[in-house]
């Protein structure tokens, strides 16, 4: 998340700077004394400013959306690979994001908690990743935009032998290629 902090700061600073410049110009000439060229120039500057602002805003929200897409995992019940209502909600959001980004290609990773057989879990992780991919495909996402990989219990997000750690580790994780 830190990597978005610096662009965000630059954005805020440049907006402040733009706003400051605009104010300085406005104070000097009165409306009556403004030439048509001057008026057109000011109008153009305002338009550019607004466009840039809109773009910055869009980019900020874009960064946030991408962040959510990558960081929000699809969670599963113990020893299950069917999708819960909550999992489907998360996948609906993934589908919307992929629809608005038609060039996006992804890898869906299937993960498990540490309990049980490591081999069975590697097979289970694949079922979880494939369940996510099948749902997205049903939502209209082309199959060739998605690749799946299972890491079973081998790549836990959270270390530890608690129910909380187990729940966090039973997941479908999305990686942008």
């Amino acid at each position: 998340m830190k990597r978005y902090l610096v662009p965000a700061l630059i954005m805020v600073l440049s907006l402040l700077l733009l706003a400051g410049l605009g104010c300085g110009k406005k104070e000097v000439p009165g409306p009556g004394s403004m030439s048509p060229q001057e008026r057109a120039r000011l109008e153009e500057a305002r338009r550019l400013r607004e466009a840039r602002l809109a773009e910055q805003q869009a980019r900020g929200s874009e960064a946030r959306q991408r962040e959510v897409f990558v960081n929000q995992d699809v969670h599963f019940e113990y020893d299950r690979y069917d999708l819960t209502a909550e999992a489907r909600q998360v996948l609906n959001e993934k589908a919307r994001y992929m629809q608005s980004h038609p060039d996006l290609k992804i890898i869906i990773e299937g993960h498990c908690d540490e309990r049980g057989s490591s081999a069975y879990n590697l097979a289970l992780g694949e079922k979880r990743a494939k369940a996510c991919a099948a749902y997205l495909q049903a939502m209209g996402i082309a199959a060739n935009r998605m690749e799946t990989v299972s890491y079973g219990e081998e790549r836990p997000l959270v270390q530890g032998h608690t129910e909380e750690a187990y729940a966090a580790n039973r997941r479908g994780h999305f990686v942008i290629k």
Binding site: D79, I107, R115, G116, S117, S118, A119, Y120, L122, A123, L124, E126, K127, E147, V149, S150, Y151, E154, R155
Partner: protein, 444 residues
Amino acid sequence: MSPKFRLAFRAMVLLGLVAGCLGLASEASARVYIDITKPISRRLPLALPAFMPMAGAAANPVGDEGHRRLVANLTYTGLFDLLDPKGFLGKPNPAAVKYRKWSRVGAELLITAVYRVEGDNLTLECRLFDVTEGKQLVGRRYQGRPADIKDMMLRFADAVMEALTGEPSVFGTQIAFVAARQGAKGVTKEIAVMNFDGSGVRIITRRNDLSLYPAWSPDGKLIAYTAYRNRRPVIYIQALAGGTGRVAVNHPGVNLTPAFKPGGGLAVAMSHTGKTNIFLTDLSGHISKQLTNGWGIEVNPTFSPDGNKMAFVSDRGGNPQIYVLDLTSGRVTRLTYGYKYAASPAWSPRGDRIAFQLEVNGVFQIATIRPDGGDLKILTRGLSPSEDPSWSPDGRLIAYAGRQSGRYQIYVITAAGELIKRLTSLPGDNTDPAWSPRGAALKR
């Protein structure tokens, strides 16, 4: 000699073996002292006094080292009650063993060893006596350098076991396992191999990634395992003698848990059909047969010694359980009931039992069951998980991965559940032991 112990072919085996040894007529015993097909009712009391210099030879530290190694080897079998050396007053004279004296201290078996070191030459004579019947069972003379003492003690322990059980021992065997280590980019897992007693650990893969589920070929020369290639778990086959291995099975989806089938071929769990089933392939990955036909997950094939049956894990009943497929009839039988999670089956090389991991009150334990589903025995009772059992080639011992020390380490128990030894004390998790067949080359 009770007739039930008398087995003519075993007598022939013994006769063949003692030829060329410290010859004594009484070595030709047909008695099987330890019937390893039966549960152990008691340990055999064995006196093993200190190794002595031969007449006229000087004492040497190699004598104590040999004694220590032989004690460790024989303790590992779980078959002997080794009598306290402090209880032995006299120095045993191999030429004139006072059987009655040894019998009085409770010994039924006696091992004597005498040695001579001259320069860099070691001569060692070891004998096993049956104290009760008053005769020598084994006599061996070893010649080499003092540095060969480890090898000599493995060979003599092997001779002792062969004389007492009628079968070769596990002293020449190795155990492959998965060793996890913290690397720069996270945890990596490599395939490692060690001697039966935990000595001589070496890593045989250098993929710097995840290498999992090692399996031995029947001749002990190859190890198959699963490792990632372009984000896909595929099967590699690697010669134990060296090399980096080659991709053997690489079908779309996952390629997991290889098992060499007795008589040829490799059983692998694969998901290219959309379901994870077990297929039989050749060593180049060409599928000759689909073995299981589940709707979800079927993994972990393990074959009966004759290759006619295969146990595996399936979720076809709703959660992971052990099933047996009869390869001749195609019939599938469910073995485990009453528990919600059973996995990692390993068929005993004796054929009589299947070991697996079973969730008991939320903790995985090592259990065994008969191949017909009868006589479930839970062998471990820990509060932390015990997983991935693998049988020794004589079917007497089980290696498994247990987390009782915080990290997974490899332990060995008897088939009855008695702890023999913790084999590893290595950094990281050490899991998935796979015991070699007999004849794999031991790393000295």
